[in-house]
């Protein structure tokens, strides 16, 4: 990790964004789900988005193909969390490893904007 300046810090870690659909979610304890997934994947997991029918998470240090190989195990681990009910359509619907951008070659942007928007 290194900092661009004092109050803008770039975190140099690899992560893969995984989305699971086909679940019913109500009253989920995110800590419990993260713990179940961490035990399964032996890596840090952060739940970053939850709706009534989907889960989105960052998985650190695991490649896309390895996530897909573990699809059944991941779905089973998810099903153990209180507040989640699987439907027949439960699946990993997307797996995307983040792409590195050159932070030194970035157009200027307005305050509060996400830096990524500068490449869009």
């Amino acid at each position: 990790m290194n900092g661009a300046d004092d109050n803008k810090v770039i975190v140099q870690v690899d992560k893969t964004v995984v989305k699971i659909t086909g679940v019913d979610v109500k009253g989920l304890n995110i800590q419990e789900l993260e713990s179940l997934l961490k035990d399964k994947l032996k890596s840090m997991v952060r739940i970053i988005g939850v709706t009534g029918s989907s889960l989105e998470m960052d998985v650190y240090g695991i490649e896309e193909e390895d996530v897909l190989k573990e699809e059944n195990g991941i779905i089973k681990a998810v099903a153990l969390a209180d507040g989640i009910t699987l439907t027949d359509l439960a699946q990993i619907s997307s797996v995307n490893k983040i792409k590195t951008v050159d932070i030194n070659d970035v157009p200027s942007y307005s305050e509060g904007q996400c830096m990524k928007e500068r490449w869009l």
């Binding site: 009253g27 970053i48 904007q113």
Partner: protein
Amino acid sequence: MFTKAMIIPTGDELAAGIVLDTDAPEIMKNLLAINGSAEVVRIAPVIDKEEAIVSKIKESAANGYDLIVLIGGSGGGHRFSTTLGKDYTHSSLDMILSDKQEGALYGKNGHMWSKLVIGKLGDTLVFNVPGPYEEATATIKAFKDSYKKDSHNLEEINKSMLEALKAKYGA
């Protein structure tokens, strides 16, 4: 030293009961560790809209709360995924706070993971912590330690919170 603190969780998923709020008890515990005689209140979650968040902050300050902590909505991911939480807490604080200090963490893909803002609204100190439990816990502990050292040094408080957040990612 604050005497009346308001904890404001934000998020449509909290307001709808889809996920449980496990952050607020941790925030309350740390605020009471600073001042055990303070009145600390947690209100119902506020939806992810700037006007709703700003309105609740102003209402709380007008009602005499001299410390306001907002939970969640500190990132930038909703611009890229419609199912991610809307991140309007930091932008709400940007609009209304004075004597503001801020720091942001970015991924190497350029996405803003989290922006921490602290500042004043009149005599009320207002700041945010990220929504994920581990990050919320780390940043409120850093706030507690730094605030106890010098409650007026907002730059140092913000820096210590950002350092604590960085450390959650292996720094």
